[in-house]
């Protein structure tokens, strides 16, 4: 089959894998059957070899157990000083992860992969430290024994009778680039043990002796060998796949393991893992949450979550489904994922219970079709980890009171009915009461109501009355049936109401989520989004919320939400950054800093992390319950998407703004270079001409040159003034020196100052003498008038009139400057006030700042400026000035209007 080349996707994936592996550090595991086979020694030897090759090797942590040969090897290598942790009065020494990350050697030695870190460390387990080291590109050598491998834990326990608490997920071993088996035949090991070459603590000597029996050692050795062989096998497979070696390759298997809340969960998961590894199959751990589970004590629910976590660590995909029909949920999901094998635990219920209530396993087997169902036995142990009290405190005590009251009421009603109705009808009354209690107050009270009903019925209505004694034996059957029916009713009714409750819960969550999405959709900007989302999360989860957003350098900082008080532990200052960098949750209920009372979730958008969400609750365990956590993650996802959207929008806007600024800058440069250079060219040209022609016979020509120098210099002066004004306006440095002014005076001053530049235009000013005083900065308002008048003079044809007027309108003074020029083209009325905007750029004139300055000054005075088309041709510029409510006080002069003669 020469066509069996690897398909491109697989090839790409392989290359990608290779790339990640290259960026990551390499992991080499020295793997042994038990302690004492010489793993640490082998690791140190290998390290020395690397060091001889010039590799930067550092010992992160090594246990020599005081053995001389090992100590000798340690001495030649640089060693990271341990971190000292205060614990219970004394100090514990442990590996210092941060120091290792800072030191960043090429190769680090980490003995005892399964070690549990000192409390308060970043990660609870050493293997997690190792993963972090690998992630930053540090190569790691480590050692581990077969009994510490999670997937083999059960088997080892079965063989040796000793269960090891410290385990390493199988996935860690699978990630290893190299596994070196350190093998020692059992007899040699026992000899070494006898020679005292194997370290063992004094107090554990007996247990250890029990462990180191020859039979155990053989079994452990076999497991280690097999594990290594399997690995070699896998490598072979990978090789064959990569090189398109055609082989009998089983169709892709998918295994689904159904986890319930029993303690057997981990067993099931391990079994699934073994099967998945054997079949090279993908596997999924599924947990179906029913309305019943919502009522379980927290501890029991946590066991279920813990099982899912174990599965996740072993490399499974984990899924939580909700619904009361467990088998149906499982089958539907299994089909959607093309599951080929389903693993379930063997039911522990008694047969009659199964008979009445049905069994998940039976339903699964019946509905599985072509899927294989594996039913696995749990280890002996208790069927249930927790003995549930007969009457759970799920119903409050007073509900039992209500139940009794209902029965009492039924008895009273029956008493009234008794003379007219048969006993069968009276039973109906009681059953009705039971049903009522069940729907209202749950299972416990309804069970009580059932019992009380039977008792009351017997007491009041069965002869002999007012006694529990029964004369007719057939009534016993009546009681039995009545009791069973009552209990059944109560069960069904509570079940229904619980379902309704679950539905209501779901609906509430959906509603909450919808409410947040809706609010997020209406908000713009990262800050607002973060605030809105934190408020919603705060409301729904009843927790304190902090949002951390990255700055330009990828450092996250807490976003200020003034209303919510998130108690940021300074010890956890780096945790949000860690979460952001690693895109993994941390804090309470996770593997990283589990001792924290806050939970940090990464906010991951479609293109990478956009921030970190921190939540803090007085009841953190509730927060990490499966439903809550799931919902919280959904909220976080929504939030992340919204934030990402905002971020993209912001970036687009910034890009747009940048091109706009660029355009503006070009306009400024061209304006300045043109408008400043033109007058300078004239001045330089004219003056150099004058210098050359000193004593020339043409005094009129000289005067002409001199005049043009003066005019051009004046133009330069005005240009610079405009540029200065706009700069001051934009820098906010324009101070208003307000004083009372008469507008006619300001107009007069402006006219006087630009007299020369008005040319042949006739300017008329019509300002009523009654015009009130205005409180303005006279110099600046004069500048506005000058700019407007100059514009009018520039654009309107010679000889045409320019009119200045002012009047009071709607509590403000409106000043008008009207001309008979070409007017402003429609649609440009707004733009002409923009900076550097010119109607006719090619025509000589200013830089396009005059009107911008006008607008700046008028707006600084709280007024408005705009341009209109003038009826009959031309344009009118209008601006308003705020009219103070009160005119300044002026005491009248003593009336006597004639000068004294």
């Amino acid at each position: 089959m020469d066509s069996a080349r690897p398909d491109p996707d697989t090839l790409l994936k392989r290359i990608k894998d290779e790339e990640t592996r290259q960026a990551r550090g390499k992991l080499k595991v020295f793997f042994g059957a038990t302690a004492g086979v010489g793993k640490t020694y082998a690791m140190l030897e290998a390290a020395h070899e690397q060091r001889r090759d010039g590799i930067d090797v550092v010992i992160g942590w090594v246990e020599t157990h005081g053995r001389a040969e090992t100590e000798a090897l340690v001495d030649g290598l640089p060693r990271l000083s341990p971190r000292e942790v205060a614990y219970g009065g004394g100090t514990l020494k442990d590996f210092d992860l941060d120091a290792a990350l800072t030191r960043h050697p090429q190769l680090i030695l980490m003995d005892e992969l399964a070690h549990t870190n000192a409390p308060g460390s970043r990660h609870p387990k050493r293997w997690q430290d190792v993963l972090e080291l690998l992630q930053v590109g540090i190569n790691v050598y480590t050692t581990v024994n077969v009994q510490h491998i999670e997937g083999l834990n059960d088997t080892v326990a079965q063989i040796t009778g000793v269960r090891v608490g410290e385990t390493v997920p199988d996935s860690v071993l699978e990630q290893a680039d190299d596994v070196e088996l350190i093998d020692l035949p059992p007899d040699d090991l026992l000899q070494r043990l006898k020679d005292g070459k194997v370290y063992m603590p004094e107090q554990a000597r007996h247990a250890v002796k029990h462990f180191f029996r020859k039979g155990n050692l053989i079994a452990l050795r076999e497991m280690a060998l097999r594990r290594t062989a399997e690995r070699v096998d896998q490598q072979m497979e990978v090789y064959r796949r990569d090189h398109a070696v055609t082989a009998a390759w089983p169709a892709a298997e998918t295994i689904m393991v159904c986890v319930n809340l029993k303690s057997r969960g981990p067993m099931l998961v391990r079994a699934a893992k073994r099967m998945a590894t054997g079949l090279h199959a993908k596997w999924i751990a599924v947990y179906v949450q029913t309305s019943k589970h919502l009522r379980l004590p927290d501890a029991e629910r946590t066991a279920g979550i813990e099982t899912l976590r174990v599965a996740e660590r072993m490399g499974a995909e984990t899924v939580t489904l909700t619904g009361d029909d467990v088998s149906r949920q499982l089958l539907v999901y299994a089909r959607s994922r093309n599951v080929t094998k389903i693993i379930v635990g063997k039911p522990l219920r008694s047969r009659w219970k199964e008979w009445i209530f049905g069994s998940v396993v039976d339903d699964l087997v019946r509905g599985s079709g072509d899927m294989d169902i594996y039913v696995i036995t749990g280890e002996g142990g208790p069927g249930r980890p927790m003995i549930r009290p007969l009457f759970q405190r799920t119903s409050a005590r007073r509900y039992y009171g209500y139940a009794s009251a209902v029965v009492l009421a039924c008895s009273a009603l029956s008493w009234l009915m008794a003379p007219y109705f048969g006993q069968a009808n009276l039973i109906m009354v009681y059953l009705f009461g039971v049903a009522l209690v069940a729907t209202r107050w749950g299972r416990g009270p309804s069970a009580l109501a059932s019992l009380l009903s039977v008792a009351a019925f017997d007491f009041f209505f069965i002869p002999p009355r007012f006694s529990f004694a029964v004369t007719d034996i057939q009534y016993l059957l009546t009681f039995a049936v009545m009791l069973v029916v009552a209990l059944l009713i109560s069960r069904l009714a509570t079940h229904k109401s619980r379902q309704a409750e679950a539905a209501r819960d779901r609906e509430q969550r959906t509603a909450a989520l919808y409410a947040m999405s809706r609010d997020l959709a209406t908000q713009r900007g990262m800050d607002k989004l973060a605030s809105v989302a934190s408020r919603h999360i705060h409301d729904v989860f009843d927790c304190q919320v902090a949002v951390f957003l990255p700055d330009g350098n990828g450092r996250v900082h807490v976003h200020r939400c003034d209303a919510l008080h998130f108690d940021l532990d300074p010890k956890e200052a780096g945790i949000s950054q860690w979460v952001f960098d690693h895109r993994e949750p941390a804090g309470h209920g996770t593997n990283t800093l589990p001792g924290s009372n806050s939970l940090y979730l990464p906010l991951i958008g479609s293109q990478g992390p956009v921030g970190v969400l921190g939540v803090q609750s007085s009841k953190p365990d509730v927060l990490v319950g499966p439903e809550q956590l799931h919902l919280l993650e959904t909220f976080a996802n929504q939030m992340a998407l919204a934030l990402e959207r905002a971020k993209l929008a912001q970036e687009t806007q910034e890009a747009h703004f940048q091109t706009e600024t660029e355009r503006m800058r070009n306009a400024v440069l061209s304006s300045i270079s043109h408008d400043l250079r033109t007058p300078l060219a004239t001045i330089i040209g004219a003056t150099s001409g004058l210098l050359k022609e000193t004593g020339s016979s043409d005094p009129a020509g000289q005067r002409e040159l001199i005049r043009s120098v003066r005019d051009e210099a004046g133009r330069l002066d005005r240009l610079l003034r405009n540029l200065l004004d706009i700069t001051r306006l934009e820098a906010g440095a324009m101070q208003l020196h307000k004083d009372w002014h008469a507008l006619d005076e300001v107009v007069g001053s402006a006219l006087a100052r630009i007299e020369l530049r008005l040319g042949s235009h006739r300017v008329t000013a019509s300002l009523p003498p009654s015009l009130p005083l205005v409180r303005v900065d006279g110099v600046l308002i004069e500048q506005v008038l000058i700019n407007l008048l100059e514009n009018a003079a520039k654009y309107a044809p010679a000889q045409t009139p320019i009119e200045v007027s002012a009047n009071v309108k709607d509590g403000a003074i409106v000043v008008e400057v009207a001309d008979r020029g070409p007017g402003i083209p429609a649609g440009e009325e707004g733009k002409i006030f923009d900076k550097f905007y010119r109607l006719h750029p090619q025509r000589e004139g200013g830089v396009g700042l005059g009107l911008t300055i006008c607008r700046g000054i008028v707006e600084a005075h709280g007024g408005r400026i705009w341009a209109d088309v003038r009826p009959g041709g031309g344009s009118i510029f209008r601006f308003t000035l705020v009219l103070e409510k009160e005119q300044p006080a002026i005491l009248p002069e003593r009336a006597e209007a004639t000068p004294v003669v």
Partner: protein
Amino acid sequence: MSHESSVLLIEDEPEIRRFLRNTLPHQGYRFYEAVSGGEGLAQAQARNPDVVLVDLGLPDMDGLEVIRKLREWTQMPIIVLSARGQEQVKVAALDGGADDYMTKPFGVEELLARLRTALRHAAKSQVESGDGDGFASGDLKIDLLRRHVFVGEKEVHLTPIEYKLLTTLVKHAGLVMTHRQLLKEVWGPLHVEESQYLRVYMRQLRHKLERDPARPKYLLTELGVGYRLSV
């Protein structure tokens, strides 16, 4: 002028100094220059010039300080040179004893006119001939002895305050008077902040004296600084 008047320029900008150095001697002035406040004060003592031109932005000393030190011993006219947009500084300089100001850039005609005005005032106050007997500029005639004001041939009736305002300006005709100075002289020292009085009475005066009050010929406004009666 009978004798050649002397002008002292205190200015650190070499180009401005060169400009005046090449202009004033041709117009019949003796010209001295100083590049700093300290040197300027020394020169003023040594040369006793008829007019001092002071730039407000000196490297070693505040221009206002130079004016204050000069006013400690002399009444010689001081004209301030400053940039536009510094109205507050100008007012401070005028209130601090300067007689007039000029905004850079300025032309020769304007400079010469200011120098003439300043010298004339100095001469008048030296002679101390009271208010003189009258003032005339264009159509405007004021008979100070009989207290008559004419525009063209027509007599204009003024209120006492209007008249006082006008005569105060006449006393300093051609020179700028700050709001503060006018308010103090006409309304008294308690009213120096109440510029609204000035606005109202100036408007009344203009309506009585000017042909086009919006484009005055005699009563000129120096926005942000004060008023000047043109000569």
